[in-house]
């Protein structure tokens, strides 16, 4: 069964477009055609594109909020513990629990934890770093970071079929359609 072998060896089909608007409408039509494992690639963010490929919200703000709360609690606890429990020391007659003096470091800790969560959370949710990716096997794909726009239907999509999907992509009037080998 050469056909099955072929579908197994490829990651998906990639169509190349010349403008952001073409990509956006192509992505919408692909979703409407019933494909679910779709991704679009562009050299800059395009408003509405993520929604067009079926992605709606990210949990990143929640992650950042939790990290910020952890930072605030941890930062204050660190200072409170050091000054009240571990090593109480009278400095300038100030109370051991000098909360006004603990505010700056508490604040810095909050920001530090939240910012680390924002950056690394984004990378983790995006699955980066990805040293190898099948799409990089498509020679034209280098243009995705320069000035061209790509749409990919992944082979794992239930509706995926090499020939039918290729035909469908061709119907979207792309610049070209390529196979991404695994």
């Amino acid at each position: 069964m050469p056909d099955v072998m072929a579908t197994k060896r490829i990651y998906g089909l990639v169509a190349e477009f010349e403008s952001p608007d073409q990509l956006l409408s192509a992505a919408r039509r692909t979703r409407e055609a019933g494909y679910r494992s779709v991704d679009a690639f562009s050299p800059m963010p395009i408003e509405g594109l993520a929604e067009a490929v079926g992605f709606h919200s990210t949990r990143l703000p929640l992650v950042v909020l939790l990290a910020g709360m952890f930072g605030a609690g941890g930062g204050f606890f660190l200072q409170w513990y050091a000054n009240v429990v571990s090593f109480p020391l009278n400095v300038g007659g100030k109370p051991f629990n000098s909360w006004p003096a603990f505010v700056p470091i508490t604040f810095e800790f909050t920001i530090l934890c939240a910012a680390l969560a924002a950056a690394f959370g984004m990378l983790a949710l995006n699955g980066l770093p990805t040293p190898y990716h099948p799409l990089f096997n498509v020679p034209r794909f280098v243009m995705a970071t320069r000035g061209r726009f790509f749409l990919c239907i992944k082979a794992r999509d239930k509706k995926f079929h090499v020939d039918a999907s290729r035909q469908f992509l061709e119907s979207l009037m792309p610049f070209g359609v390529y196979e991404a080998e695994l």
Partner: protein
């Protein structure tokens, strides 16, 4: 979001944020070719060489410092904080404009920031590095700098969390970390561009490693933009907190001339003031030498001139309130410090500060000055000097005559002080030259968005 009305007005009267005629690909090519071009321009070697020489001076001065000790500096008792602290505050203030441009202007949807934010962010990181070096050098035993951090140790001892000097450690290290994150996150898509455009194997590997496999997926962009917004939202209060904490180093003490409540906002304004001055000092030559006049337009220079004027006026307000309250407060020490500034042995420094920081920059009210590249560069340079003098006035003049006349003493910097200051400028410029050679100094992907938008407006 709605388009910024300034943006719309741009078509009628004001210069544009990007000159017409660019497409997504040509913008990419123009900016990335500066980095990927095979030939390094002789001007770059000249600038880098000069900076590197200054850096060598720093290394020499620091080596001698480590071998002999802080005694080689001009510091004494009572002026325990000399050039080291002056330079520290000066540098960290310069860093603030970078974060301001990249974070606050992003939140305000000011599109004109796009072409200057990358350089400004890089400037922030390098300035914070230069700044962070000075307190460590000033420690006397810099190899024990890690004692500043809270960690479980055999002495069962903690840093003194009620001290603003410890707050500083946290503020500056957080600032450096967050600035690096912000900068690097901003670079990822451009690193991917460089990876895909690089022709030598070595460059492909290095840029490819740093790009971490970025491929511009729509889902990734979505999270990426969210992360950028969140980082900007976090960096904005952070940048204000950093110089606030620096001002606490002074204001929390009860020394006359230091202990005054206006210090936090006035330090922050001063930081932004000097930071924008430094951005102008860098942007004006850069756009000239690399032919980036289409990207860094007169509009940018004009806007930065206005921000400098506004923050400079807040600084002037700070001086005025300090001087007024010294008398209104009816405290003899405060009064003396103020008089000592104006007519004491360092009066020349004080009045040069007023001239450089307050009087001359009033020229920025004039549109002619703001739209003349040469004049703007001159004012920016003057403000940078003025802000350095301000920190000298605050640190040295308050310390050299405090409550007890019997320990009054003059302070004079030694050649090692000057060498360290000059050398730190060398470190800053060296890093900057490396940056503009190896990384795109203008955010390529944001310029692509700008190109598409301006195209959309025309149709």
């Amino acid at each position: 979001m709605e388009s910024d009305p300034l943006e719309r007005g741009a078509e009628i009267s004001q210069p544009r944020v990007i000159e017409p005629g660019y497409t997504i690909s040509t913008v990419t090519d123009k900016i990335s070719s500066i980095v990927l071009g095979q030939r390094t321009r002789p001007g770059w070697f000249l600038g880098f060489g000069a900076s590197f020489l200054l850096l060598l001076i720093l290394l020499y001065a620091v080596t001698v410092l480590f071998a002999i000790g802080v005694g080689i500096w001009g510091v004494n008792i009572p002026v325990g904080w000399g050039f080291a602290i002056v330079n520290f505050i000066w540098w960290i203030g310069i860093g603030h404009a970078g974060t301001l441009i990249s974070a606050i202007l992003l939140l305000l949807h000011q599109k004109w920031r796009t072409s200057i934010n990358r350089t400004a962010e890089a400037m922030t990181i390098f300035a914070v590095l230069c700044a962070g070096m000075f307190p460590v050098l000033h420690l006397g035993r810099p190899w024990l700098a890690y004692w500043l951090f809270p960690y479980p140790n055999t002495m069962w001892y903690w840093p003194q969390f009620r001290s603003p000097l410890v707050w500083d450690v946290f503020a500056v290290s957080t600032y450096l970390t967050v600035s690096l994150l912000f900068w690097f996150v901003g670079l990822i898509p451009d690193l991917a561009t460089l990876r895909d455009r690089a022709r030598t194997r070595a460059k492909q590997i290095v840029y490819g490693f740093l790009a971490m496999g970025w491929r511009g997926s729509a889902v990734h962009w979505k999270r990426y933009e969210m992360a950028s917004l969140l980082l900007a939202g976090l960096a904005t209060p952070l940048v204000i907190s950093v110089h606030t904490v620096v001002s606490f180093d002074f204001a929390i003490a009860i020394l006359p001339g230091w202990h005054t409540t206006i210090f936090p906002p006035y330090f922050v304004a001063g930081a932004i003031y000097s930071g924008f001055a430094m951005v102008l000092c860098l942007a004006i030559p850069l756009r000239k030498f690399y032919g980036l006049e289409d990207f860094i337009t007169m509009r940018h220079l004009d806007n930065m001139g206005k921000i400098m004027l506004a923050t400079g006026l807040i600084v002037a307000y700070g001086y005025m309130m300090e001087a007024f309250m010294a008398f209104y407060g009816a405290d003899i020490y405060e009064r003396y410090v103020t008089l000592n500034r104006m007519v004491g042995p360092y009066a020349a420094v004080y009045w040069s500060l007023i001239a450089l920081n307050i009087v001359i920059p009033q020229a920025l009210w004039s549109r002619r000055v703001r739209t003349s590249v040469g004049a703007l560069f001159a004012v920016a340079l003057i403000v940078n000097c003025g802000m350095w003098l301000e920190r000298f006035v605050i640190v040295v003049i308050s310390l050299h005559r405090d409550f007890m006349p019997s320990i009054w003493l003059m302070y004079a910097p030694t050649r090692w002080d000057w060498m360290t200051l000059l050398g730190s400028i060398g470190l800053f410029l060296t890093l900057l030259f490396l940056f503009i050679r190896y990384l795109p100094m203008i955010s390529i992907f944001e310029m692509r968005s700008l190109v598409t938008e301006t195209e959309g407006e025309r149709t």
